[in-house]
């Protein structure tokens, strides 16, 4: 696959390491009353869509950016690639 890096352009997927569902960005509050439950869900519960999926990729043999890649799990079509740090900041401020 080719992942179009937000600033480096098209890069071969072999330069990347895959982690998984981008919901890992939404880490719960450790001080919440139900923190244990929230963390259990955060850690273990995943959707498994046949279709567009937001997922985390690490450009290990590149600029070491964590990216949020929106990829169709059926066709492998990639529709969006963002810096994970940008997404995380955005989600924090919203």
């Amino acid at each position: 696959m080719i992942i179009t890096h937000p600033i480096l352009g098209p890069r071969d997927s072999s330069e990347f390491v895959y982690l998984g569902d981008a919901t890992l960005l939404d880490r719960p509050d450790w001080q919440a009353a139900d923190a244990l439950e929230q963390f259990t869900r955060y850690q273990h519960t995943r959707d498994n869509p046949a279709g567009p999926h937001r997922e985390l990729w690490f450009h290990e043999q590149g600029d070491r950016s964590w990216l949020v890649v929106t990829r169709d799990t059926v066709t492998h079509e990639i529709t969006q690639v963002e810096f994970a740090s940008d997404v995380a900041r955005k989600e924090r401020s919203s």
Partner: protein, 188 residues
Amino acid sequence: MHDLAPICALGGADPAIDTLAGVTLAEFPDLALASVSARQGSEEACRAQLKDLLNSAAPKPGRAVLNDPEAAFWIGPDQWMVSAPYASHADLTGQLKSRFQDTASITEQTDGWVCFDLRGDRVDEVIRLCANIDIDQMQTGDAVRSVVHYMGVYILRLDPANALRIFGPRSSAKSLHHALMTAMGAAL
């Protein structure tokens, strides 16, 4: 002055130089390296310092500034690798720390890397058997991260364009040298 004798990454007291079919692969140890990472909120100040140091704007993604004595290439968002001749800049890290102060984190990288210069008219043919980069499109001053035989490398196109500078992990210098020599044998 201390009295410990340095060795090159390939293990010799002197750098290894090999030539095959008009292409030369030479170990280049006379280089001090330090990474410069802008502190959060100080990105502009850090760039300004780099500009001052390099006499040229901080390199953009995928680019290098090949000036003397200090040169630099982009290695990540708000992150650069600065190089300078080792003989005059053995403590490049210390020098950069005083210059950049709190605008950047400076880390010594000098001996983290083995540096090879690959020079000759058909270097592109060699790279095609080594790294998945679009070498035809690579211009002087381009700097890309890639992988050669499972080893992470930086490849820079120098001036003149028939020379490439390849940085690889120092501990794997022998494996990288072997991979490049094998590719030279196959491609040239």
